[in-house]
Amino acid sequence: MKKLNYLFTTIIMAVLALGCDPVEDINDSLAENEAGIVDEFSYTLTEDDYKETLGLDYANFNTIDDARDLIPQVLEENFPFLGANSLSTVTYDLYQPVQTERSLIVYTVTTEDYDSYPDTEEFDNFDDEDQIYTFLDDKYGDVDNRTLISLTYKFYDGSAQTLNNGFLRVNGSWQFALGLTNAEYNEVGQGFANFNTEDEALRKLPIFLKDKFKYDDVAEGTIKSVMYKLYTTDEDDIDNDGSVEDRATYSYIANFILIGSEWEVYNNVVSQTLQFGNDGSTWIPDNTISYSLVAADYAFIASELGDTYPAQTSSMTQYGNMDRRSGNAAFWSDDMILEAFNLLLNDLDPSAEEGQKYAVTFDIYNGSNTTETFFLIKTDGVWVMQ
């Protein structure tokens, strides 16, 4: 029995030694060389990202440089598992304050005013915006910075109209603020040429803007300043008459931004996007263009390299993919593919700047039909592997 015990012990030890984890070494090596998960995705920063992750007071960045510097921290915090070659298009808010002003000077251009300029003397109206600015420079060139002029004037554009618009003095030049004509106040449901409350103005003006510019091609993100009038108590003594109880019509400026097809009150932040790429250890602003080969591209490569790699190109032409079985006569090696992509990218994007990156995806056959992606960067005028 003792001998048997030895035998059993030997067998059990052999079993434990041989039967452990056959795939352990492979798995360890896979874990070590893990490329990480690659993803291409869009992400919009949340309030938590600004305040918790970055410790900012407000949910926006002051400058684009801040965004470039700080967004990588957010991506690292939220997507720690993503590895090299991941791409993220990040949407963030940028603080771009636009001041709202109250009227200080209300003025209606007089016949005498028109008569003092040769261009406007004959018809007693303006017919060119430059004429307005010349007049303003002459009459109000020395007002304090950020003074608003509510100007009522006649303007000839096919027919003569009476307009009331705002002009804000900003650092020596004039910033235009669209005003509403009396007719327009009527259109938005006001009996008088003013609004009764600020809330009413901010509710109706987006509708007004949408209607007014419905035939114009206004770019998304455009900010428009609008000058509107309120019949209100002058609590702040805007008119400097010493009284804070007088009721009168005052002009204000509000800013609106076009988001989608709607105008919204502009709260001093604009939405911006930046692309970031993961280089394996951190996220950096990135210019990678993702591109998938189309039929014409395979044809282009075949025509360019048909003589150099006849077996590869004829197989590629037949099957519409690159043979990646290293045992096969039609096998495309990495170098051959790189050579082909140099020709292709120089054809597709000849003016690509130095440092431009591409993620080129192409169809392959490796026993089954699938795809592969090469990550290329233009270095010294040549496309090389990243």
Binding site: M1, L4, N5, L7, F8, I11, A14, V15, L16, L18, G19, C20, D21, P22, V23, D25, I26, N27, S29, L30, A31, A311, S314, Q318, Y319, G320, R324, R325, S326, G327, N328, A329, F331, N366, G367
Partner: protein, 850 residues
């Protein structure tokens, strides 16, 4: 050790129903011819239901309440023996060694011959035999062929891990090169040679033995025995009266219950056996669901002394979820489900749907006639009919099932969101062809056969056997649309007779054809047996004819719609000598040459009716030497083999832009040689140690030059290519295996088992025709692995019924090992597509005999 033994004893004493015993009778039952212990022998007190079975070592111990009486000892293939006992004044009586004599009633010998079973120390082939007892006790939820894993030269894999998806490979040859016979009837698919074990799920319950003959084998009929032959013999009139009910439960909800009932041979010379079972639950791999039944019926009648008729019908209707897509090692590493990961299933309406599944029912019926013509002659005839209905499910249309495609999965490798695919089909509108849907590749067939064997003694020492083997097979192949996934129809343009065909669920589309296979075989064998020498020589000739009819690719008036018969005549001859040096030692040798007709797909390449004129018979030459030792405590078998496969032919096919390219690759040679060793050692009565080692050297032997590729119009495409195979290792089977096993009777009623199986030198599978560049490395060699199994069998009397508990834990250590691999780019681990073998699984079952 002692402590473990004591605690085990205590546990089983608690489990054992206590009986008021008068005394105990002991004994050991052995084969009278060679002294080999016989396990599973029935020992019953005559006139009672009190009975036990012998353990693996032939030992039994029965408690009796009577003082005197007799014991009836019976075993399949042996003459029953009745022994009187007298307990008066004693508590224990030891009957010593009981010799059972082989049943001289001709029936069993006829069966042995008709079923091509090899006889120990006589038939000159390498053989391992698994007894019914072993199958019953040790199989558990394993796949049926896995019971052979401890025999040399055999590699069994569960493939993707679905129920019945196992594949048996012998000596490095795939399943289409391993012949399988059930009761002497060949069951390899007539068109592609494969064996689908899910069709035979119930056989493990009724098998009386399973024999694996490596190499040429003992069969006389034409068989694809390149790697070997597996003979499964079911129970018949030889079975004892009685029956059992059984229930087994295991991991992942595996549940099997069934019963078996046998009348034994009745007074009126009738005998019947019926067995039914039901299996549900899942296998180890995710979503490998099981929904299976099995049935077996045998009715036999003795007609006088000289005739016996036996009708057998069995089948196993089943549907099971599959894993059809291998994954990268890194995929398993990353997947939450680890080695259980299966990407071929999803959810629809909250229900699990197997995107890849298999459903099949193939009843096999045979009528056997055994006729003992006179003292020296017999004729056995079997006519059989089998028809299969079913197929394999899969995907069609736009592929939305990618393993990384998180548009349709919650996470990579997660279940497929079929509801989303349904919604997308619906969004296209009910007047638009389905974008993505499910289909089944159907394969319905009918197989008629007749096999007749005449045996006579030419002289005292020479037996002559001759016979005829006829087979006719008709297989319908088509694609069936099984689930439109929310769409109303699909428009198919593959049927030239129905352009823009509107296909709905249940309709055929894509392809529809019938393959016919006709087989006529003749065989003869002479056997000499005198004193120490036995020798055998056999010859066989067969004609295989193929015909193909295609209903979709050709119009009814197209002469190509139905081909002529294409004939292949093949010959084979083999012979062997066995010499019994003395009572203990024997040596044998065999030699054979045989040809095999090419498979259907090599004749009608690309599933079109253009006959491949270059298709050729494959030629196999095999030689083997063996040595056997039969001692009291020690048995050993050692053999060396060399199988040379000449003119192995391949058809290379590639599809692109719906154009199919082909090439015939002729003259590929392979050489499989190796050494096999099997040992059994019984140092003490209660302990049996077994060992097996198999060292193979399987390689491709030459390069093939100037292979021309053709398009579907038979126009040559490009320059001829070369295929570089010389010295490349054969993949898909472990070239080195060994096994160790121990079987220890803790108590007379309780046996514990342990076994360890080790596999090494295992190369990834690959497309031989893809090696068209010189100097490539060997394909990826998978990590060596070992798997450790434990088992326990405990017998006790349960309310008067002889009851048995079997518990098995497979892969006790939970070893994570790769069981199958497909070679990838650069032949490295990172690119190989693999299946892992199952992790730790278990079954526990009870059999109550009555």
């Amino acid at each position: 050790m002692k402590k473990i033994t004591s605690s085990l004893t205590l546990v089983f004493l608690l489990l054992t129903a206590f009986m008021q015993a008068q005394g105990t009778i002991r004994g050991t039952v052995v084969d009278g011819e060679n002294g080999t212990p016989l396990p599973g022998v029935n020992v019953v007190v005559e006139g009672t239901t009190n009975g036990v079975s012998t353990d693996f070592d032939g030992v039994f111990e029965i408690q009796v309440v009577e003082n005197t009486g007799s014991l009836r000892v019976s075993y399949v293939g042996f003459k029953p023996s009745t022994l009187a006992f007298d307990l008066s004044g004693k508590k224990v009586v030891d009957l010593g060694t009981i010799n059972l004599e082989m049943d001289s009633d001709a029936l069993d010998e006829v069966i042995v011959k008709a079923y091509s079973l090899a006889i120990d120390r006589k038939t000159p082939v390498a053989v391992s035999t698994i007894k019914a007892e072993t199958i019953q006790n040790e199989l558990g939820s394993q796949e049926f062929p896995e019971i052979l894993k401890t025999t040399p030269g055999v590699y069994v894999t569960r493939g993707g891990g679905g129920f019945g998806d196992a594949e048996l490979r012998i000596r490095g040859f795939n399943s289409e090169n391993v012949a399988v016979m059930i009761n002497g009837i060949p069951v390899n698919d007539m068109e592609n040679g494969r064996v689908y074990w899910s069709n035979w799920a119930g056989l493990s319950d009724v098998a009386s033995s399973m024999q694996v003959q490596r190499g040429l084998g003992a069969a006389m009929i034409g068989l694809p025995s390149i790697g070997g032959t597996v003979n499964i013999v079911t129970k018949s009139t030889d079975i004892e009266k009685g029956g059992n009910v059984m229930m087994t439960t295991g991991n992942d909800g595996y549940t099997k219950y069934g019963f078996k009932l046998s009348t034994g041979l009745l007074e009126n010379d009738w005998a019947a056996t019926v067995s039914l079972s039901r299996t549900t639950g899942e296998q180890f791999v995710d979503a490998t669901t099981i929904d299976a039944y099995s049935y077996f019926l045998n009715v036999a009648k003795k007609l006088g002394d000289n005739h016996e008729l036996s009708f057998t019908a069995f089948g196993a209707p089943q549907r099971h979820g599959q894993r059809q897509n291998r994954l990268l090692i890194d995929d398993y590493r990353r997947s939450e489900r680890g080695i259980r990961t299966n990407t071929d299933w999803g959810y629809k309406n909250g229900q699990l749907v197997n995107i890849e599944d298999n459903f099949y029912h193939k009843p096999q019926m045979s009528l056997n006639h055994y006729w003992t013509i006179n003292d020296i002659s017999s004729l056995t005839t079997a006519v059989y009919y089998s028809f299969g209905t079913g197929g394999g499910g899969g995907t069609a249309g736009t592929n939305k099932f990618g393993k990384y495609d998180t548009n349709y999965r919650d996470e990579v490798f997660g279940p497929v969101d079929l509801d989303k695919i349904v919604a997308e089909n619906k969004a296209l509108g009910q007047a638009t062809s389905a974008e993505t849907f499910l289909r089944a590749s159907r394969n319905n067939h009918q197989w008629y056969g007749a096999l007749s064997t005449y045996n006579t003694e030419l002289s005292e020492y020479i037996d002559l056997t001759a016979g005829i083997d006829l087979r006719f097979y008709k297989g319908d192949h088509y694609t069936e649309l099984t689930d439109l996934l929310g769409a109303a129809f699909y428009i198919d343009n593959n049927d030239v007779n129905n352009p823009n065909k509107v296909v709905r669920e249940g309709d055929k589309y894509n392809y529809y054809d019938t393959g016919y296979t006709n087989w006529q075989g003749l065989f003869a064998q002479a056997e000499y047996d005198k004193d120490a020498l036995s020798a055998v020589i056999s010859v066989a000739a067969n004609n295989t004819s193929y015909k193909r009819e295609d209903y979709f690719k050709y119009t009814p008036d197209d002469p190509l719609r139905e081909t002529d018969w294409v004939n292949f005549t093949a010959f084979s001859t083999k012979g062997g000598v066995n010499y019994r040096l003395d009572e203990k030692h024997n040596v044998f040798g065999n030699l054979g040459y045989f040809e095999r007709a090419p498979f259907n797909e090599a004749v009608f390449i690309n599933n079109r009716n253009n006959v491949n004129e270059d298709a050729e018979n494959q030629k196999i030459f095999s030689a083997e030497l063996g040595y056997g030792y039969r001692g009291d405590k020690f048995r050993a078998d050692l053999n060396v083999y060399r199988t040379q496969w000449m003119d192995r032919s391949y058809t290379l096919t590639r599809t692109a832009d719906n154009i199919q390219y082909t090439a015939n690759i002729l003259g590929v040679d392979a050489l499989h040689q190796g050494v096999e060793l099997e040992l059994q050692y019984r140092p003490v009565e209660t302990l049996t140690l077994t060992g097996m080692a198999s060292l193979g050297d399987w390689q491709w032997a030459n390069n093939v030059n100037n292979v021309q590729v053709f398009d579907d119009q038979q126009n040559p495409i490009g320059d001829p290519i070369d295929i570089y195979l010389d010295g490349v290792k054969v993949g898909n089977s472990a070239q080195t295996t060994f096994a160790l096993g121990a079987d220890y009777a803790v108590l007379a009623s309780t046996t514990v088992r342990a076994s360890f199986n080790y596999a090494a030198d295992y190369y990834a599978d690959y497309d031989v025709t893809g090696r068209s560049v010189e100097g490539l490395p060997q394909t990826w060699k998978m990590p060596d692995y070992g798997v450790f199994d434990l088992g326990l069998t405990h017998r006790f009397n349960f309310g008067g019924f002889n009851t048995q508990i079997n518990a098995n834990v497979f892969n006790v250590l939970g070893t994570e090992y790769i069981s199958d691999a497909q070679d990838g780019d650069g032949s490295v681990a990172e690119t190989a597509l693999v299946y892992y073998g199952p992790g730790r699984t278990y079954t526990i079952g009870a059999i109550i005999n009555f």
